[in-house]
Subunit: 670 residues, 2 copies
């Protein structure tokens, strides 16, 4: 027979198709969270009228224990089942289908009504039981007995046994259940897909970024890890759970940058933490001015005690005086004069940074060394890495690095700091980054927010791209924040924290509403901490910290805000008002957010709520309880009035209560 490999078995008739979840037909793993159910769907069918049996097998890759459950048939050849991976790791699930001749026989028998046909069917059933006795183990005697009964009854039938009685014996569900335990799976089809299962923080996290060197108690001093320890209660009190530190390594002295990125740095300039490496060490060392490795261990312990997890920055690049440059010149690109090529994107130049050359002939050595950096910090106790500019290193490298690290340490979280073209950001997420920065920082208008977050929560990326949204970063002081308007800072914070389960701010600039750019048209902060020490007046009366504390508390208390999949925008007839809801089915938690995007004027309008999506009834009143102001309103039906004065608070974050039990629930009325 031409055209077929000899291993191929033409007797396989079942088809498994369109398996979900999956990314690019199995080229990448879908992402899920430990403890959350994974809904598996597949299209399974066979030729003709035969019945199928379809099972879902799943296991952590490398684990010896394999789980298997039956999938259930739904209309239109769709089969479903779910499994719940208990702990982080890489899992593989497999949908297997085969023609179930016993089930087909049962289904046909149920529709037979002529005595001769039923008798023939009983004979056929007995023959099928005979065939499976040999693999039925301790069930064999029962099946043999049943076969004998079927044959006897077929014979009795010839002398008048009642058709209904014969069918009842043959269709006995208890006996059929025994047969189910011994399927003939010789001619089965399978499709497997992988799922990367992360710990819960990968799906729900509140990040705070600060520069440790700016935490000294007194102005003009270089902050230390000991100073940072003193700062932990401040960060913890606001309700964050991840404290992310820019690079903590020795900073290069060659071409060191001065304040405001000046090339002519004074000798005492502290330089950019991203210009990593100097004579005293590189990516596995700590800047002496911050403290010792012992201090870092103390910091980790103190942070953990305060409910904070430290995230480090992985910036795979070198200052010219990084020890790698001398030790491994082949890891860098050389110019015709023998000098090493610094980073540039003409006409921009970064003379204090040497990028690695991922086309180096010694790429294996380079990859191994970079992975050893991650392993080193994991050994110190770090499990979250914010990766600086991953899109300027090779995709294959990241795919290898992340899978290798997570194979041994599945608790590790990688956040991709790639602010670049959409397909590049998507690719980084597909190949393994646990979370990704987004364009949120630049999405400030109502329609662009709706479009972007609809794409993020319902588009092609939902199975692999986890947004982590930031209203500001040390690199991005968005134009809208440069007004310094308190309402804008409040609104952007609330949007970030309620649109996305993962969000972060760069503080204390954020709560102190730092708003001055380096120059006109610039998104850089003036006197940025990237290049100099700063000292922050944390106790300033107008600080936004109480609002931050409240919004983080709301996030922790409400499961609806801990996932992105249910995000639904609500029509509201005012271009400055944006409204959306999220809900959590298990806890029946519903949050409805309305934000006034205009920082200067009171805006009002009528909101239209999709009651069905939220499980609300059209003729029962429900309560909306503003968790920011503690005001409670009683609403009825989908259409309700909203008025927001940005000078008081530019948003409502309503908890929606379906069932009003006591008079107390009606405290406040409009």
């Amino acid at each position: 027979m031409a055209g077929k490999p000899s291993a191929f078995d033409g007797r396989i008739r079942a088809v498994v198709d369109a398996v979900l979840p999956e990314v690019d037909a199995g080229r990448f793993a879908a992402k899920r969270i430990a403890g959350e159910a994974v809904d598996v769907e597949a299209h399974c069918f066979t030729d003709g009228h035969d019945q199928l049996r379809v099972v879902l097998a799943w296991a952590a890759i490398g684990a010896s224990e394999q789980h298997e459950i039956d999938m259930r048939a739904e209309p239109n050849d769709v089969w479903r089942a779910q499994f719940t991976p208990p702990v982080p790791g890489r899992y593989r699930y497999t949908v297997t289908a085969w023609v179930d001749h016993f089930a087909s026989w049962r289904a046909e028998l149920a529709r037979r009504d002529e005595a001769d046909d039923v008798r023939t069917a009983l004979q056929l059933g007995a023959a099928m039981l005979d065939a499976l006795v040999s693999r039925a183990g301790s069930d064999a005697p029962m099946l043999m007995e049943w076969a004998t009964l079927l044959r006897a009854s077929a014979a009795d039938g010839a002398t008048g046994m009642d058709i209904a009685a014969m069918k009842a014996l043959a269709l006995d569900p208890a006996r059929a259940a025994v047969v189910l335990r011994h399927p003939d799976r010789r001619f089965s089809s399978s499709q497997s897909r992988d799922v990367t299962v992360d710990r819960q923080r990968a799906g729900f996290s509140s990040w705070y970024e600060l520069f440790p060197r700016s935490t000294a108690a007194e102005p003009g001093h270089h902050g230390t890890f000991r100073d940072l320890e003193q700062r932990l209660p401040y960060v913890a009190r606001m309700g964050f759970d991840v404290l992310y530190l820019p690079p903590i390594h020795p900073i290069g002295r060659v071409h060191r940058k001065g304040p405001n990125n000046r090339l002519d740095a004074e000798p005492q300039a502290v330089g950019s933490p991203w210009a990593i490496g100097a004579a005293e060490g590189g990516h596995k060392h700590i800047l002496a001015a911050l403290g010792s490795m012992q201090d870092f261990h103390r910091l980790l312990a103190a942070a953990s005690k305060a409910g904070l997890e430290i995230a480090l920055d992985l910036a795979f690049q070198c200052a010219p005086d990084h020890p790698y440059v001398q030790a491994h010149p082949t890891w860098f690109k050389h110019r015709p004069d023998g000098s090493i090529q610094y980073a540039e994107n003409p006409p921009k130049k970064y003379q204090d940074i040497y990028p690695f050359d991922f086309e180096s002939d010694d790429w294996r050595e380079l990859w191994d060394e970079l992975k050893s950096v991650v392993d080193f910090w994991i050994a110190q106790g770090v499990r979250i890495f914010r990766v600086d500019n991953p899109h300027t290193k090779s995709f294959a490298f990241w795919e290898w690095l992340i899978s290798e690290v997570q194979r041994v340490h599945p608790n590790t979280i990688f956040l991709a700091e790639a602010f670049t073209r959409p397909k590049v950001m998507q690719r980084l997420a597909k190949l393994g980054f646990s979370q990704s920065y987004t364009y949120f920082t630049w999405r400030t208008g109502k329609q662009e927010l709706i479009d972007y977050f609809t794409e993020l929560s319902h588009g092609a990326g939902v199975d692999y791209f986890r947004p982590n949204v930031w209203p500001n970063t040390p690199d991005i002081l968005h134009e809208s924040l440069q007004s310094g308007a308190r309402a804008t800072f409040s609104a952007r914070l609330i949007l970030a924290a309620t649109l996305s389960a993962n969000y972060g701010i760069y503080g204390p600039t954020y709560e102190l509403m730092e708003s001055t750019p380096r120059g006109a048209g610039s998104e850089e902060y003036r006197d940025s901490e990237k290049y100099q020490l700063r000292h922050w007046p944390l106790d300033r009366e107008d600080s936004l910290w109480p609002l931050i504390q409240r919004i983080n508390r709301i996030r922790r208390d409400n499961p609806a805000l801990q996932s992105d999949r249910t995000l639904t925008f609500c029509p509201i007839d005012n271009d400055q008002l944006i409204a959306y809801a999220k809900h959590d089915a298990a806890s029946a938690d519903i949050i409805l957010v309305v934000v006034n995007l205009d920082p200067y004027h009171t805006q009002s309008g009528w909101i239209d709520i999709d009651l069905a999506v939220l499980g609300l009834s059209a003729d029962q009143p429900y309560q909306v309880h503003d968790l920011l102001s503690e005001q409670r309103f009683r609403w009825l039906g989908p259409r309700n009035f909203i008025l927001l004065d940005p000078n008081r608070m530019p948003a409502h974050v309503f908890k929606v209560r379906r069932h009003l039990r006591t008079e107390r629930d009606f405290d406040y009325f409009l």
Copy 2:
């Protein structure tokens, strides 16, 4: 280095993703037509700021000649190119991308404006030219000369050579074009996909089905191939190009069915042509009453001369007296008493049909024999097969059969007669069937027609599922046709012929508006030709043949109707009126169809035409010329009035003319 096969090269930085066209990530081939351009799209990018080069290679599988062209970059990392497969066959195309260091160097140099940087760049360029000289063949001297010039100019530059002159020398496009011919493709990424390219008839065909045995000149006689030869001018005159014949093989005598599917057939009953095989032969033989193999060859030749191609029926099943049953008992399922299992779907029984058992241990033999049936008829000159109930034979078998047959005979067309669940029909199309029957027969309402044909022409199946739509078949006399209303027959014909590039009718029942079902609620014809001879009064005055002739002429004259991809429905404010347009860009042909679905009443309404889609101007009049009535109207703008009296003609088939050149174009006005 853990986790990577040693053949893997980490220096590959380019990514090729999201290649189109494709079906299930390359599991199946997309379908196209010979002579039509295949638009290829891919997402290609690399890390960092480097430039990519992306090429499209394509070739017929097995051919020695490989074609390659550059793809062009569009915004958002999308790359495009197209190729035109000249003849039918299976093709493979490959998108290959690599980092183009020379192009990156050029792009960066263009943005440099400091003398030192430009001089360094010239040195770097010279070094790149040195590196490619060894593979540059006869271009080597020119490249060496250029490298020398670049070095000299970099040196001159040190003494004041003008930056612009240096850049002009380095960016010289003519010299760069030479470098393009010698790319360094060591670190490239590729993705390949297959395309099945069919001949034009697979994409545009008009089918007519008839029973040869009903073509005798006199009633009561068994028609022959000689009689059928006399019928060819009748079919050709109507404008069909495919004449499809139900099975022409010996018909079983065991359990032969009588008229109207009666079990108690009289001795002279002719039986069902689908009960294939008797003592005198099976699938490779011709029913003696129809004629000899020589007669069949004559018929093929005469049909070809008349512009008709004969399509045969592939019904892979056997009458109980088919020679296969004796010779190959293992190809069939046996019952406990040793008898062979006939086809059934309880409570329905088909005692005259034995299905093959595709789980037979001798499946290889069975597959080979069934393929030999196809090869046999191909050897006689047949190239179109209508496959009976493919969904009751195994999917793997069809995939193998079609690909093996088309590998040698790429002109072969297979039409899947599967009226079954959507995913099964989709799978048959994916695995290789050139055309597929559809649910059109049961889609009679306006909205269900719009939904279904929008899915067919714009849904997931467009790259593999080619609809062939039939208003009737010997198995389906739809309820709507049972009224016998001439307007319904006309409307359904016009819908089929203009909604779909491939369509067919079962005649002469259709043109003679045969409308009597076997019983109430039945879709079977009374006195169906499936079980008895019929004699048709072809010259009846009310025959629809002139309308059929006209609609087929319109289809041949208008490229817009020869493809399905441009189908667009137009809003029209009457539930009984349906309107849609198709256009062909190359010929600027536009067809606008409006059908009155109510066979009894005049209906009117306002149509809304999407002028932009059809390339019409909002302020220029255009002509709509009804190719059925020859009436011409002058319209302006998108909104126009329609009135259709079903007693005259239930449809307009307008040719839309954008440019009105002469007064003649205004013959008729509303």
